[in-house]
Subunit: 247 residues, 2 copies
């Protein structure tokens, strides 16, 4: 499994992904699920992937190839005039990759080789944009009403995102919020694991404003995990006491 | 979907279930998912159900029939000497009900008509016990290490249970904890809905010590939901601030 979140803020976009892949519970590896491409001053594009690893790696490799030899193709990532075009290209590539495997493996393949992608980025002269791309190749875009996307093991970490999110929050607070959401997920599900990759794309920076890998021994993350447990218990005890109607 | 939790405490067992059933998102009804049978001073048994409504209603109806005409059968719920035997009986009934539908509907039926049950209860002279019964008819029992079971839409409400549970907590605190867990789930998933049914089975009470239905306009639950949002935000802001290594 996997857990990735992309979050749109007034100041830009924050992304976080885990790095665990598993085939069963006894075959666990670390693979990067966050990738980015940039042309300084002109465009920044980043993706996070969830789903079948062979599928997502194939899509990323094909994207890499296109950026390196764009003249061979109709449109490369660096030539697409808008982020919408970039999402269209990646969606098509994802759909084709899955369809190719499905063809080779029959009807069962579609389900087995499925994958989803979160795409974030900005092209000079336009707004930062955040997309969720489905295995079918179609996609939706984040809005004021739905300002963040999750893929993979999304449920454990969702309640705190719903309650903690604020479009005007700082990048630091957004990273903290994502860490709490990931901590809740890590505590509940073995298939999501450290290290975590984190990236901030500041508005009009056209580059990774901040980029980090959080490892097992990260002192801040350890402290956050401990203190969040305590803070939750304190929050719980601060709630009005319940009493049974008949007592 | 459904959300039910059964929780073992030192003082007894606390149970909570929602009442929403849906077939698609446009066909939503209210059905009770919590049922109990007791023989004052001698035994108390309660179940909560998740899964296909026709299956769970059939199981409950058959249990009702057995309690009313136990002489027809080998063992009725009121004759079983231990809670383990009760779990075995209910498990067998659940498996048979699913298998019957499966037989009538072919291979696809097993998946479609599946259901799970949480069973709680106590028989005089023995400890209170809590079981989770699978569609296959087998079951597991709660222990010190795994003191609560969830069925249905379990993920959203799990992190707070993991962090807030304490075996020695009062019934009042346990109900409050379950309400917070349900509130997180209700906020995130339309398929879980009010009203909620709640029951407390006190150790050696052999009856529903407390039993209530929480409706949409319950002032305590409304207040809890509001204050929990605020308390979570306060907890979040009480965490140590994050700062990017390079700033």
């Amino acid at each position: 499994m996997t857990y990735c979140v992309g979050m749109m803020l007034e100041k830009g976009i924050v992304m976080m992904s885990d790095t665990r892949t598993n085939s069963g519970v006894d075959n666990i590896s670390v693979f990067r699920k966050m990738f980015h491409w940039s042309k300084p001053g002109e465009r920044m594009m980043a993706v996070m992937t969830a789903g079948n690893l062979a599928t997502t790696q194939a899509v990323i490799s094909r994207l890499e190839e296109r950026t390196k030899a764009p003249e061979d193709r109709s449109i490369g990532l660096f030539e697409a005039p808008t982020m919408f075009q970039v999402a269209t290209e990646i969606g098509q590539m994802l759909r084709e990759t899955i369809a190719h495997r499905q063809k080779a493996n029959g009807e069962a393949g579609r389900r087995k080789f499925t994958a989803s992608i979160i795409l974030a980025g900005q092209i000079a002269g336009m707004e930062p944009r955040l997309f969720m791309i489905y295995p079918e190749g179609n996609f939706i875009e984040a809005s004021y009403d739905t300002p963040f996307f999750q893929i993979g093991e999304t449920k454990y970490g969702r309640p705190i995102l719903i309650r903690g999110y604020d479009r005007d929050m700082s990048f630091e607070d957004a990273v903290k919020l994502l860490m709490v959401s990931f901590d809740s997920t890590l505590k509940a599900n073995l298939s999501v694991g450290l290290p975590l990759d984190m990236m901030v794309i500041g508005r009009d920076d056209f580059a990774a404003t901040h980029e980090r890998r959080l490892t097992h021994d990260d002192p801040y993350f350890e402290r956050l995990s401990d203190e969040w447990g305590n803070a939750l218990r304190t929050a719980f005890h601060s709630l009005p006491p319940y009493s049974f109607p008949d007592t």
